[in-house]
C-alpha cells in the first residue's frame, strides 16, 4: 500500500557556487515511512537532506533549480518563510549538538519562542519528548543539569527529543548514529521504528545494515545523481542496477 507523499522533489539541481552537487533529483517521500539515503562519501546525501528544510540557505552562493514540494507547495517560492518550514521539518545532525543549557531548557528553548509559556505545558512537553526519545528514565532526576554533561548517545537522543518537542511532521536525520556506540545506536534505531507511527523520517546512513533494518524505502546516490530508488527490500536483495549492487555488497571501487 502506497502512502501519500509528504515531500516531493522534482528535477532538482543544486549548486555550491559553480560546483553542481545534485543533478536532476526526482523522488517522493511517503508519509509515515522511513526513507534511507545511502551512497559513498561526497555523493550529495547531506546536501539533499539540507535542501528539504532549507538549511542550505545558510551557505553563501548556493543555488537551487527545480521544485521541492512539501504538502504540495514549493518551499523555494519567494513568499515561503524558511523559519516556518523548519518548524514543520525537524533535523538531527551527525554530531550531537545540544545547547550549553540545562536538559530542560534544551527542550523548551524553541517551543517557548514559538509561544508556549505555561509551566505545565512546558513540563508536559519535556516529559513527552524525552519519553518519545527513550531518554526520560535516564534524565528525569537531572533535568536542571547541563546537557553537556550527558554521554554522546544521551546527547543525541536529547537532540532528537528537542526536535520532537516542536512537533514536526518530518524528521531529517543525517548519520545520527555515526558518532555512537552499538548500544546507543540500537536504541536510536528502535526509536526510529517507533517514531514512524507519527512522523515521516528521512535518514542518511553509511551503515548498510542500519538502512536495511530501519527503512521501508532506500535511495542510492552516486556523484550527485539518484542511481536507484525503491523499496528497501528490493534494493537490498535484487537491485536493478549493477552499481547499486556493488555498493551494497561492498564491492564498490
Amino acid at each position: 500500500m502506497k502512502n501519500q507523499p509528504i515531500i516531493t522533489t522534482k528535477n532538482v539541481n543544486f549548486y555550491y557556487g559553480a560546483f553542481q552537487a545534485l543533478t536532476d533529483i526526482t523522488m517522493d517521500f511517503e508519509r509515515n515511512r522511513v526513507t534511507a539515503l545511502i551512497g559513498p562519501s561526497g555523493c550529495g546525501k547531506s546536501t539533499l537532506l539540507r535542501l528539504l528544510n532549507r538549511m542550505n540557505d545558510l551557505i553563501d552562493q548556493t543555488r537551487v533549480e527545480g521544485e521541492v514540494l512539501f504538502e504540495g507547495r514549493n518551499i523555494y517560492e519567494p513568499d515561503v518563510d524558511p523559519v516556518e518550514i523548519r518548524k514543520r521539518i525537524g533535523m538531527v545532525f551527525q554530531k550531537p549538538n545540544p545547547f550549553p543549557k540545562s536538559i530542560y531548557n534544551n527542550i523548551t528553548y524553541a517551543p517557548r519562542l514559538a509561544g508556549i509559556k505555561s509551566k505545565e505545558s512546558l513540563d508536559a512537553l519535556v516529559e513527552d519528548s524525552l519519553k518519545q526519545a527513550v531518554l526520560w528514565d535516564e534524565v528525569k532526576d537531572i533535568l536542571g543539569r547541563s546537557a553537556m554533561t550527558l554521554s554522546g548517545g544521551q546527547q543525541q537522543r536529547l537532540c532528537i527529543a528537542r526536535a520532537l518537542a516542536m512537533k514536526p511532521d518530518v524528521l531529517l536525520m543525517d548519520e545520527p548514529t555515526s558518532a555512537l556506540d552499538p548500544i546507543s545506536t540500537a536504541k536510536i534505531e528502535e526509536l526510529v521504528d517507533e517514531l514512524k507511527e507519527s512522523y515521516t523520517i528521512i535518514i542518511v546512513t553509511h551503515n548498510m545494515q542500519q538502512a536495511a533494518r530501519v527503512s521501508e524505502y532506500t535511495g542510492f546516490f552516486y556523484l550527485g545523481k539518484l542511481i536507484e530508488f525503491g523499496l528497501t527490500e528490493k534494493i537490498f536483495t535484487n537491485p536493478d542496477i549493477k552499481q547499486t549492487e556493488d555498493y551494497i555488497t561492498g564491492r564498490f571501487g
Binding site: 545558510l58 553563501d60 547541563s146
Partner: protein, 290 residues
C-alpha cells in the same frame, strides 16, 4: 661534508634560534619589571590615604589626586557606555548578517584604519566635532565620546573574535528548530560570546583609562577641586594630571613625587583592570565545554 657535521650544524642553528627567541621574551619581561620597579621605587612614598582622597592644594604641589581618580573613572565608564553597544552591534552585523563582499571589506579596512590612527588625531577630532561643532564644550561627554571612538576598534575586534568562536553547530541547531535568525543570535550566539566580548572590552577600558591626548582638548581640566555635577562638566584625569605636573607647572621638580605617585595609581588601575579580564577569561574557560 659528512652527515654528522651537517646534523651538528643544524642542531647548533636550532639552539641559536631558540636562544634569540628566549632572549627577546626576556627583554620584554625585564622592560615591564623595570618600569614597575622604577614607578614603585619613586612613587610609593607619595601614596597615602590622603593622597587618594583629597584634592590637590597649594598650586598642586601638595594634597592628593582624588578629583583625577574620579575623573578618569567617569571618562572610562562613559567611553564604555559609548563604545560597547556600538562595537558589539557592528561586530554582530559583520559576523552574522553581512554577506562576504565588497562592502564588508571596506568596513573592515575602515575599522583597521581607525585602530591605527594616532590618539592625538582622535583628540583633535573630538575637539572639532564634539566640543566645538556639537557645543558639548570641554566635558565628560566630549571626552567619553572621543575615548569611545578610540576604543571602538578594540571592542569590535574582540567581539568579532568572540562571535566567530561560537560553534557554527549552535547556530544550525537553533535555526533547524524553526527559530528565527535574530532569536538565534540573541538567545544562543550572544550569550555564548559574552565572556569573550567582556575580556576584549576590559582591555579596551585599560587603554581608555591611560590615554592623554584624546582627553587633553575634550575633557581634561588643569585643576578643579570640585567634583563634576553633570556630564557637561570638565574633570581632572590621571594621565593628564601627570602630563600637567611634569611639563606645565612652575614647580616641576618639587612635584616629582606626586607625578610618580599618580603614575603608580594609574598603572595600578590599568593593570588591575587587565587582571580582572584575565580572571574572567580563565574562569569562563574552565566552565566552557564545547
Amino acid at each position: 661534508m659528512n652527515e654528522q657535521s651537517l646534523m651538528k650544524r643544524r642542531y647548533l642553528k636550532q639552539r641559536a634560534f631558540f636562544l634569540i627567541v628566549r632572549l627577546s621574551a626576556l627583554v620584554i619581561t625585564l622592560a615591564l619589571v623595570g618600569i614597575l620597579f622604577f614607578l614603585f621605587y619613586n612613587g610609593l612614598g607619595a601614596i597615602s590615604w590622603d593622597f587618594l582622597t583629597l584634592p590637590p592644594t597649594d598650586s598642586m604641589t601638595k594634597g592628593g589626586i582624588m578629583p583625577a581618580i574620579v575623573g578618569t573613572f567617569y571618562l572610562t565608564i562613559g567611553a564604555i557606555i559609548v563604545a560597547l553597544p556600538l562595537g558589539v552591534a557592528s561586530a554582530i552585523y559583520l559576523t552574522e548578517y553581512a554577506k562576504q563582499g565588497k562592502l564588508i571589506r571596506v568596513i573592515r579596512v575602515a575599522v583597521n584604519c581607525l585602530a591605527g590612527v594616532p590618539s592625538v588625531v582622535f583628540g583633535l577630532f573630538g575637539l572639532g566635532f564634539f566640543v566645538v561643532f556639537l557645543r558639548f564644550g570641554s566635558s565628560i561627554l566630549s571626552g567619553a565620546l572621543t575615548l569611545g571612538i578610540l576604543i571602538l576598534p578594540t571592542i569590535i575586534g574582540a567581539s568579532e573574535e568572540a562571535l566567530k568562536a561560537v560553534p557554527q553547530t549552535f547556530r544550525e541547531a537553533s535555526l533547524a528548530l524553526g527559530v528565527s535568525k535574530w532569536a538565534t543570535i540573541s538567545r544562543i550566539v550572544i550569550p555564548s560570546a559574552v565572556p569573550g566580548i567582556l575580556t576584549g572590552s576590559i582591555l579596551g577600558i585599560g587603554r581608555a583609562a591611560g590615554e592623554t591626548a584624546p582627553i587633553m582638548f575634550t575633557a581634561a581640566a588643569f585643576f578643579t577641586a570640585v567634583l563634576p555635577k553633570s556630564v557637561f562638566n570638565e574633570v581632572m584625569a590621571l594621565p593628564y594630571h601627570i602630563y600637567v605636573l611634569a611639563t606645565a607647572g612652575t614647580h616641576i621638580e618639587q612635584t616629582r613625587p606626586i607625578q610618580y605617585g599618580t603614575a603608580l595609581v594609574l598603572i595600578a588601575l590599568v593593570l588591575g583592570i587587565d587582571l580582572v579580564a584575565i580572571v574572567i577569561r580563565s574562569v569562563i574557560r574552565r566552565k566552557k565545554r564545547w
